[in-house]
Amino acid sequence: MITTSALQVRFGDTTALHPLDLDLPGERIYGLLGRNGAGKTTLLSVLAGFRKPSAGAVLFDGAPVFENVRSTSRICLIRDDGMVGDGTDNLRDVLDMAAMLRPAFDSGYAAELLDRFGLTRKQRLGALSRGQRSAFAIVVGLASRAPLTMFDEAHLGMDAANRQLFHDELLRDYLAHPRTFVLSTHLIEEQSPLFEQVLILHEGRLLLQSDLDELRERGVSVTGPAQVVDDFVYGLKVLSERTLGPTKQVTVFGGLDDERRALAGRYALELGPVAVQDLFIHLTGGVP
C-alpha cells in the first residue's frame, strides 16, 4: 500500500527524518505516536505528497506520490490546524471543492456527519471555534473515502463527546468501506484501542512498529524488595525504576518467558502489566 525507502527530510542543517524504511500494508488503522518534534507531521506531509523528500522515495501502490495527481487524489491528509479551505469560504464551498477533487467523496455522508457534529453549510470556516473546525476537518476527511486517509491530531480542541463521535464514525465507516487510516495522536489511552498497529517515531527515527497487543504484552512491571528485584531483572531491558522505602518497582521491556515468570513466583515478586502510555513515555526517553 504505502512504502518508503531510505526516505529522508532535511530542513537546512536539521534532519527531520533520518533514512526511513516503512511498509504499511493497506486497509488497516495505524496510530502514529511520538513526542513533540519527533517528526510525525513531517512524515505525514511527505507521505501525502505535500512535501518533496530530500532523499529516498515514497511509493503509494507502487507509484511515486510527490507531484503525481493519480496518487494524491487518492490520499487525504487532514492537518492539525483543521484549515481545510480558506477562512472566508463557507462550509458548502469547501465540501463542493472536496467533492470535485476527490473521486470517492460521498456528499450524502458528508451531510449526515455535518448534521451529527451540529454544523451547517452556511457557516464560514473562519468563524468556527477550534473544536468545530476540527470536527469539520474530520467530516471532510471521512467523507473523502480516500484509500489513504491521514489525520494529524485532527481531534485538537474537540470535546470528549465529539471525539467519541469521531471514533465511532471512523470505525463504522472503516468497516463499511475498508481503507487505510493513519492517525497521529498524543491521546494514547483514548485512541490506542482503535489502532491495529502503532508506529513510534523518536527524534526522526522509527523506534518501533508493532501490533498494539504485542506491545502491551512486552511491557511488564516487577515489584518487590529492592535487592530481589535487582537480581531478578539483571540482564533484562529495564525502562524505568521507582523505589518507595524498601520496595522497588521496575518496568522491563521484551516480555518474560515462562521460566522467568516461575522464578518471579518463587521469589514472591509481583508481576503486572504496563499501560501503553507508560511504555511510550519510557521508550521515548522518560519524563524529563
Binding site: 488497516r28 488503522i29 467519541q164 471514533h167 465511532d168 470505525l171 463504522r172 472503516y174 468497516l175 489511552e189 490506542s192 484501542p193 482503535l194 489502532f195 491495529e196 498494539l212 497487543d213 504485542e214 502491551r216 504484552e217 503486572g272 502489566p273 504496563v274 499501560a275 501503553v276 502510555q277
Partner: protein
C-alpha cells in the same frame, strides 16, 4: 470497559468465556460478530477478530461459514473443569497466604465459607 494494560483481545476472550461459563451464552447460541463487537466496544476489528480466533482455537466457539460464530456444545462444562483445576492455585492459595499474614484461623474461614455456600455440608 477495557483496561489499557493487558492485551485487549485477551480481555474480550475472557469476557466471552465468563458469559459461557455463567450460561449467559448457551450452547449453539450465536455470539456477536467481530464487527458488532468492534463497533460496540470501540476497538479495532482486527483486535476483536484475534479474540474470536483464540476462542475458536480453544474450542469455545465455532464458525459457521457465512452465518457467524456459535458457542460450542460442551464448552461450558470444559471451561468449568479448567477453572476448577486452577481454582485452588489461583484463588485459594493466595487467600490462604493472606489469611496467614493476617492471623486468621482456618476454622473461621471454613465457618464463613459454609455461610456463603449454604446447603453444602460435605
Amino acid at each position: 470497559m477495557f483496561d489499557d494494560r493487558s492485551p485487549i483481545y485477551r480481555q474480550i476472550a475472557d469476557q466471552i468465556k465468563d458469559d459461557v461459563l455463567r450460561g449467559v451464552l448457551a450452547a449453539d447460541e450465536q455470539v456477536m460478530s467481530t464487527n458488532q463487537y468492534a463497533a460496540y466496544y470501540r476497538i479495532n476489528p482486527a483486535t476483536a477478530a484475534k479474540a474470536f480466533q483464540q476462542l475458536v482455537d480453544e474450542g469455545v466457539i465455532y464458525k459457521r461459514r457465512g452465518v457467524g460464530m456459535f458457542v460450542t456444545a460442551g464448552a461450558q462444562a470444559r471451561l468449568r473443569d479448567g477453572r476448577r483445576e486452577r481454582f485452588f492455585a489461583e484463588v485459594l492459595e493466595p487467600m490462604a497466604a493472606e489469611a496467614r499474614a493476617l492471623g486468621i484461623a482456618a476454622a473461621d474461614i471454613v465457618a464463613r465459607i459454609h455461610q456463603l455456600i449454604p446447603g453444602d455440608s460435605r
